[in-house]
Symmetry: C2
Subunit: 389 residues, 2 copies
DNA sequence: GAACTTCGTTCATTGAATAAACTATGACCG
DNA sequence: CGGTCATAGTTTATTCAATGAACGAAGTTC
């Protein structure tokens, strides 16, 4: 397709880059983009814009829509994302079940399959499900991405305690089956991208912190994961933040870990579980020990401050189950950050958007990989609103 | 010249990118690069490589050297950096003095001027020195970069306590005088780049920590400062790391700051001063309170761990005056990092290279800006060895 | 209805890389 | 020593993508 190296050494790469720019405009303003608009926005001539659009239509990435209202001359032909042909396969892998979703290019879920398994047969069942999707949708598949708890370099699962996978070349295996690019994404990274997809891309760093039974972090820049090797990035759950007598023991075997001090379990007690729904968490939080909550908030805030200062982060987003803890908790975190902030480093904290779904994040990563393009927040909201369920 | 927008919309941008790639190869392997070698390394045809080299020679960026030994056929003409024409102006600004250095493209210092001033007349004296350099070297100047303590967006000095500058548009002012691009660089960033220039570029994040009377951090990726807006990045000196009764008061007026706990002044007492030379620091450290040193090392290590974990940093480099504290201190830091490291996040710490000079770092930033090119560590070592002094 | 705007296409031209033929120079080898 | 081969580098025609200018189509304004 259009993916791959932005080596920009030859005319072909210029063409690729301009195709991407044109396609990005259609993705950003679906139904409003026009050939003339692309020409204006990119600085390319009208002739070139037309040529690019023609190629995108032929590749079944873009379709023409109705004529736009006149702005004083001939009416423009609107352009939208072609939602009828290509499909993105999103796989969300969890210890005992998985979710396979097929998304159209407009972000709408075309089909969802759920599978369950016991750990020993997980690989077999998963592979079979992948093969089934491949057999049914074949050439319509554009790209696939799998989200999983654990560390990954995008091609292999390096280490996943929850799945008991160690150095598994999953991408390669599924690529042989599906004949499309497959990439692997860490769960918190996907969550961060989903959140970021719900906002206009900003030029600064955004620090995303997932707080549930565990704690993980991800850094985004301009709507994408911060560049560089991300194999083990964001693994801050078991960094020591409490010392000496104050260090609480952690499920990992050590003591003083951030998770032991600031996770949902630390703040709400063993009654917390990652499988609880939002209402149950709210109910549990209502009965929580104020002091434990405050302590968790403080410890988290102190951690955040350091990282935000080094990166000059413009925003911190708290996601995961902690997202429903409400103003009380958020204020505690923000206060502790502000309290000692130097004035120059004074980063705002907020909760993640409830509308952001993991599936969206994974799909966005896949889309970026395959086409180098981002959905517009508006498009995603529309797509999730029209979700068949 | 060749700098500026990588707008990548037209053939011209392809040409620019390829010129940069060719030039980079000459910078990396001066005296060994050849047209045929460039062709092989870039994948471009020999004809294109020849054309690129011809243009670089005409621009006085590259010169031909002697014939290389035959590798079984016609002997190749070697290519080197043209050190005779273009000059890079590096300005290191400090509260009561400044250093203006003119560097050739091979990294050698062609001329150095020192000026001193009292604070009230600083602007006037500096501007006059800049004007004098401009008048003398005129069109040979390629680019200028100024290094200073304080925050900057590259164009303006946002805030510098040491210089008592607040939102000063220095780059614009000097550009009007010199008619070349001028950029401003934070002092710790320059130090980090200098260090990074002494190593082969690596794909991972490198965390650089300057420890002197103050503490600052910088993150490099692939030999350059991490992308994104860096206006206030790395300002970690006054993040609170000690709390309650343990929090020591800081010169900034608050208490518990990292500087108050882990700076050279915190560890060695008021006898420390940033103007001390290496020998004096070593002597001072020999009489230091072991416990204060250990405490500083511990606090620093705990700070480092968090940041390294979020970034998945591959290396931490300690620079500034602390660089001469010796094995004792370094081991304390490394031990505290290893002690609670999760095994996955276990980042090595080392001291900065003594050969790296601030001037080199500033010049490297300027060179990257102007030509998109990095010096090779070997080239820099050769240049600094041949320094007239 | 005439003048003007805006959209989009067609076509000759430009700039950069390519492919292939060619020259130059040196190594290797019988 | 002369022939063959390998490597370096140049020349020339070709290809590909974007440009610029002309132009047709469709709509608005007066």
């Amino acid at each position: 397709m259009m993916n791959g190296d932005d080596a920009l050494d030859t005319q072909a790469s210029v063409r690729r880059a301009n195709l991407r720019r044109a396609l990005q405009l259609v993705f950003r303003t679906p139904g409003e983009a026009t050939r003339a608009g692309i020409s204006r926005a990119t600085g390319l001539t009208a002739a070139t814009a037309s040529s690019l659009v023609a190629e995108l239509i032929e590749q079944r990435l873009v379709v023409e829509g109705p004529q736009a209202a006149s702005t004083g001359g001939k009416r423009a032909t609107t352009l939208s994302v072609d939602a009828e042909h290509h499909l993105i396969l999103v796989v969300v892998i969890r210890p005992t079940d998985a979710r396979l979703a097929l998304l159209a290019l407009d972000g709408a879920e075309v089909e969802v399959r759920r599978i369950t398994y016991a750990a020993p047969e997980r690989d077999r069942v998963l592979d079979a499900a992948i093969a089934a999707v491949g057999a049914e949708y074949g050439s319509r598949l554009l790209v696939a991405a799998a989200q999983l708890p654990g560390t990954t370099d995008g091609r292999r699962v390096l280490e996943s305690v929850q799945l008991d996978w160690h150095d598994v070349p999953l991408a390669e295996r599924w690529e042989r089956e599906l004949h499309i690019p497959v990439l692997l994404v860490n769960d918190v990274d996907a969550e961060a991208i989903a959140e970021s997809a719900m906002e206009e891309a900003s030029a600064g760093y955004r620090l995303f912190i997932h707080i549930g039974g565990g704690i993980g972090a991800a850094v985004t820049l301009d709507g994408e994961l911060a560049p560089g090797p991300r194999d083990r990035a964001g693994e801050i759950g078991h960094v020591q933040v409490e010392f000496g007598a104050a260090a609480r023991s952690c499920r990992c075997g050590r003591a003083g870990c951030l998770e032991a001090a600031a996770s949902m379990t630390a703040m709400l007690g063993d009654g917390f579980d990652d499988s609880l729904d939002d209402d149950a968490i709210v109910a549990l939080a209502a009965t929580a020990d104020e002091e434990l909550l405050a302590e968790g908030a403080r410890t988290l805030a102190r951690t955040i401050k350091l990282i935000a200062a080094v990166l000059d982060a413009e925003e911190v987003v708290i996601g995961g189950p902690a997202r429903v803890l409400g103003d009380r908790y958020l204020r505690l975190v923000q206060q502790e950050i502000d309290y000692t902030a130097t004035g120059t480093v004074n980063v705002p904290v907020r909760y993640a958007d409830g509308a952001a779904s993991i599936t969206t994040g994974v799909a966005q990563v896949a889309l970026t990989h395959a086409l180098g393009v981002r959905w517009s927040p508006a498009q995603l909201r529309a797509a999730s609103a029209s979700r068949p369920e």
